[in-house]
Structures are given as C-alpha cells and as structure tokens.
C-alpha cells in the first residue's frame, strides 16, 4: 500500500462511516484549472490549461481527459490533457479571432466533467500586443532593444508605453534574469547585455524578453539566439591520477600484470614439475 493515498483512504473511511451511503452518489469533485495565455515569438498564441485536484496537500493531475477550448467565442476545439494534466491549444499567427467591442479577445476553457469529476471552467481576456526584439551592438555596447506595439484597425502600429519588460537568458532549469526595463513613450526600451555570461560551446545564448502576467496583455514573449555568451568548454575534465574512472590507470594494470605473471608463472612451472614427477614415476626404475 502506498502510504500516501492510505492517508486519504483513512480519511475516506472515517467519513464513509459518518455519512449515509446514498449521499455520495450525487457528490462530485470539482477540479481546478490553471489557464494561461502566452503570445510567442512567431506571433502564435499558446493556451495552456492545467487541470488538477488539490487535496490533502497533494496534487492529483487530471490526465487523459478532454477539455474544450474556445477563442473569441466561436471556434471550439477539443484537446486532451497529457500525463501532466495539461492540455494545449496553439493558435497560429495571423488567425482572425473575434474581438470584444473594446478590442480584447476572450479565451475560454471548459472541462465538461466525467463520472464523479465535476465540470470546471476558466477564462482569460487579453488584448493582442506585439513585441519586437533586436539584439545589436551600439557603440560597442551589446544592447537588447525591445519594442511593444498594438496593431491598429488599418494595420498601423501603435506603441505601447509604460509596460515592464523582463529580459532573461535561457538556462537549463529556469530563465535567468539579466534585467528589467519599462517602455518609454515610443514603446521602446534598451538594456545592456552583460559580457560575462557563459553560453553554449559556440557562445550562443538564447535571449528572452517577456511581458509577464500583464492584466491587459497576458504573457508576451520574444526570444532570439545570439552569440553573445562566452563559449564554454563542455569536455569532461578528469583530474590527473583519478582512480574513479571505469578503466584503471595504466601503471596499475602493468604492476598487476607483472605481479600476477610472475607468481602464476612459478605456479605453472611447479605444476609442470609435478607432471614430470608423475611421468618419471611411470618409467621403470633402473637399478
């Protein structure tokens, strides 16, 4: 018995005793949905719905369940939660979505419920914003240049000012922040990129600019790969005279071989002598 669910079981048993059996038939548990919106570098929009139950300080992921996404009210798509309880919807760049009168778009997700799992809903309303990023060297300063804009009715760009943008470099386990700036009136900002950050073996780093959890615009990001990092040597350094390697150091192999051949050589010699003794014994003794 896994001890974790057993705790739940115990609780369950206690409650079962206390409650009339019929009462549970109508009861359902309602999962929670964490719903997020992210506009990505290529202009596509990623919707992510994580469905889970949180009980007894434990998270139960709702897996392999169909959820329904809707964007702008009409288009409805079905997606299935994966092994992490997450369902995704990717909206390709340039897709025409129905807007609310104020220019925002509403995204919804609905989990219809199944068996004893109750239905759950979540929705996000955001305004579409574009982000452009240029990585350039200005006066020998490596500069991250970001511009935020909205697209007007006629396809014109309207700068978005006063928004905070976080600049990161991408790391294996997280994003490492190198700074944050607020866009000016022209919707632009500049940030100096540090010179001492390690990159890949070719010196490349992935620079990420993000507007995060903005009430109006949701999450918007732009990422680019640039060779602004210090090239890092990824080869494995083995300290001299290391003994933990799979193969033994050569001197050890040689010493052992010499010792063993020396000793076993003598053994074999003696055994040969024994065989000879036996042979001699078979000969008739000459008087």
């Amino acid at each position: 018995m896994n001890r974790k669910p057993s705790y739940v079981l115990l609780l369950a048993a206690m409650i079962l005793i206390a409650q009339p059996i019929c009462a549970q038939e109508s009861s359902k548990v309602a999962p929670t949905i964490d719903f997020t919106y992210l506009k990505r570098t290529d202009g596509s929009k990623l919707l992510q719905a994580k469905v889970y139950l949180f009980q007894n300080r434990k998270t139960y992921l709702v897996v392999n369940q169909d959820v329904l996404f809707s964007a702008g009210g009409d288009s409805i798509t079905r997606a299935t939660t994966d092994g992490e309880g997450i369902a995704y919807l990717l909206i390709q760049p340039g897709a025409k979505l129905k807007e609310n009168p104020d220019g925002t778009t509403t995204f919804k997700v609905n989990y219809p419920g199944k068996d004893t799992l109750d239905a759950a809903n979540a929705e996000i309303t955001v305004r579409d914003m574009g982000m452009a990023m240029h990585l350039e060297v200005l006066d020998s300063v490596r500069t991250v240049h970001v511009k935020l804009f909205e697209t007007g009715k006629k396809g014109d760009t309207i700068p978005v000012s006063g928004q905070t943008v976080d600049i990161y470099v991408h790391r294996m386990l997280s994003l490492q922040k190198i700074g944050e700036e607020t866009t000016g009136d022209n919707g632009e900002l500049n940030l100096e990129f540090p010179r001492d950050l390690p990159g890949e073996s070719d010196g490349s780093v992935t620079v990420v600019a993000r507007v995060e959890e903005n009430e109006k615009y949701g999450n918007v990001e732009n990422s680019q790969v640039k060779d602004w990092g210090i090239p890092v040597d990824h080869s494995v350094v083995i300290t001299t005279r290391a003994l933990w390697t799979q193969i033994a150091p050569w001197w050890m192999i040689i010493t052992l071989t010499i010792l063993l051949t020396g000793v076993w050589g003598h053994y074999i010699y003696v055994i040969v002598q024994l065989v000879m003794i036996k042979k001699d014994g078979n000969k008739p003794v000459l008087k």
Binding site: N2, T41, D42, T59, Y60, F69, T77, Q92, L173, H234
Partner: protein, 334 residues
C-alpha cells in the same frame, strides 16, 4: 491553510518553461481554414484508459467520491526510460551543482519527504538528511541539509569492485542496484555518510509498471546500496530535483555550473556571484573529494535554530539530544 498554498505547484514557473520548450518542438499543426490546433501532439499518455482502479477524494462539501484512477494521477508522466547501461552517459554538456543556503533552513523536512515520496523510499531511509550541526560547544548550531555530494573525486566510485557505482560526464554519481553486490565498501569509503543500505526488502509499494532505472532508483533492492541521485530522471526532463522543488524556504539551489546559473525554483542567480557574495564553501574540503554541493554559511539567519526543533515530532527531537545547544537550552531540567 498557509501550508496548503506553499505546497501548490508553481504553475507560473512551469508555464515560463513551457513557452520555450514548445518553440523548439514546433507544433505547426495548422489545419487549413481552421486556425486552431490542439497541441502538442504525441505527448506522453502513460495512464491507461479506465483501469477500474479508484482513487478516493473529498468533495468541497466534505463527501468522498471515487474517481477512476485512469483520470487522476499522482505522479507526473515519466520521461523516456533510461536503462542501466544508458544511465552511464550523462546529460551532454552539463555539470550539475547544488548550493545549499544554510541561513534559510529551518528543518521543515519537506525535501526529505519529497525525496522519499519520489523515490518510493521507506520512511527510515533518508537520502537527504538534515543534521543539526554544532561544530564545537562554543559555536552556534545550524541546520545542515545533506544530500549526496556527487564528488568530482568520488572515493565510493574508486573503491567499487564491480563498477556498480559510477560517475557520469554531468557529474552525477549513480548506483546500479542490478550490479551492486552489496559489499558496502563504498559506504565506508564515503566520508559524508551519503549512502544507505537496504538491510531488508524495502516495505513500500511502487507503481508496478515502473521499470528500474538507476536515474530514479526505484525500486530499491534488498542487499544493495542506495543514495541520492540528484533526481537524474527529473533533470533529463529539464525539471528540478524533487528536494529543490519541494523546499518552501528556497534553501536549495540547483543548476549547471557550466551555465553559471542556479535556481531554487523562484529565483535564478549566477552561481559564481552567489558563492562570491555569500562566501560559499564545500563541506570538509580538506578531504579532497571535491563535492558538487556548496554551502552558504548560516549568517543573517531568517529563522532561529529553535524553530526547526520545536515543531518536530518527539521521536525526531530525540535525534538531537546530544547536541550541546539542545542539551543546554531544551533539555535542561529546572
């Protein structure tokens, strides 16, 4: 109630990671005429459909309902299976490092619990241990979380007669319990008491479909050695080790020393800066094993040492009865 919130998965962090991850996978599944596509396709679908097993959960109005186990899962989907022989090869281009900030530890023991849960360890097997250290009678006590140090000059690996324990290119030291003969030489070789022996068959249940891989080290086998694996299975998926993710105080930082970056899940800092600014050090440096785990000294503490002691269960308190500080302050009879 506060505790509950602390334990909630940090969905934002997860999301932050995902934007980029997907960008690399490229989910260009645009169907003509329709701008919407569900993605990413081909995600792991490990849970079987309608298993018949039930998980009992409580409704908001305090009733118990049973939910088909196929719809719920406690554990996240496991990544690609890594066989014992494949586990000899490290994650390319990585060299992992952990930094433990002693000034923030208050012995909440969440790391230990997460570790035991994730690796299906019996309750008395602690791969992560938290010691109450007091170096001398006159010095201050502090809480000292200690995983395996994954040394760069690991004596345990040097002395293993069958190569059952090995060090990989990413710095992780693993044990293959299919190979281990249980001679315990590595346990005497390790000066940090990192290794735990399975003196009997571990009395825990683990998912029956779980295949043994040294990276997760489940299940543990009787007569062999187990130890912290830096959650190599999680790292393969680009996730933080379980203890790091579980620590509510952000004591544990983990990262890649080649990227010079460590994170405790909420905060990402440069490793070299952290070590420089906070005078980081390695435990028992004089032994020359070159650990991959660094400590930040317990200065400017966020919690008094007592707070880690007072909330403990009595049997856990017992452990520290020989520490001079505890003897003098807690156990002294009036």
């Amino acid at each position: 109630m506060e505790d509950t919130n602390k334990d909630k998965p940090n969905s934002r962090r997860k999301f932050l990671q995902l934007g980029l991850g997907l960008g690399a996978v490229s989910v260009a599944t645009a169907v003509a005429g329709k701008a919407l596509a569900a993605g990413p396709e081909g995600g792991e679908k490990s849970a079987p459909s309608a298993s018949g097993e039930k998980v009992k959960v409580l409704t908001t109005d305090g009733k118990v309902v049973e939910v088909d186990a196929a719809q719920l899962s406690l554990a996240k989907a496991s990544g690609k299976f890594v066989s014992p022989s494949e586990s000899h090869i490290g994650i390319p281009g990585r060299k992992f490092v952990m930094v433990i900030d002693l000034s923030k530890c208050k012995n909440a023991r969440k790391c230990i619990e997460a570790c035991q849960e994730g690796h299906y360890l019996p309750k008395d097997h602690e791969w992560m241990k938290v010691f109450l250290m007091q170096d001398a009678n006159t010095t201050a006590p502090y809480w000292f979380p200690k995983p395996c140090f994954h040394c760069d000059n690991p004596l345990c690996v040097s002395v293993c007669p069958v190569g059952a324990t090995y060090k990989r290119s990413d710095g992780i030291v693993l044990v293959d319990t299919d190979r281990c003969i249980g001679c315990k030489f590595c346990m005497t070789g390790c000066p940090y008491s990192a290794r735990v022996f399975n003196w009997n068959k571990p009395e825990v249940e683990y998912p029956s479909d779980m295949k043994y891989s040294p990276e997760r080290a489940v299940p543990q086998k009787e007569g062999t050695v187990g130890k912290c694996v830096f959650c190599a299975d999680k790292l393969r998926k680009g996730e933080l080790p379980r203890c790091v993710a579980a620590c509510p105080m952000g004591v544990l930082y983990f990262g890649d020393i080649l990227e010079d970056s460590v994170t405790n899940g909420t905060e990402t800092v440069r490793f070299s800066e952290l070590i420089r600014n906070r005078a980081g050090y390695r435990h028992l440096e004089n032994l020359g094993n070159m650990p991959s785990v660094y400590y930040l000294p317990p200065v400017d503490r966020q919690f008094p040492v007592d707070s880690g002691y007072d909330d403990l269960k009595p049997e856990l308190k017992e452990r520290f009865k020989n520490i001079p500080y505890i003897k003098n302050t807690k156990l002294k009879k009036p």
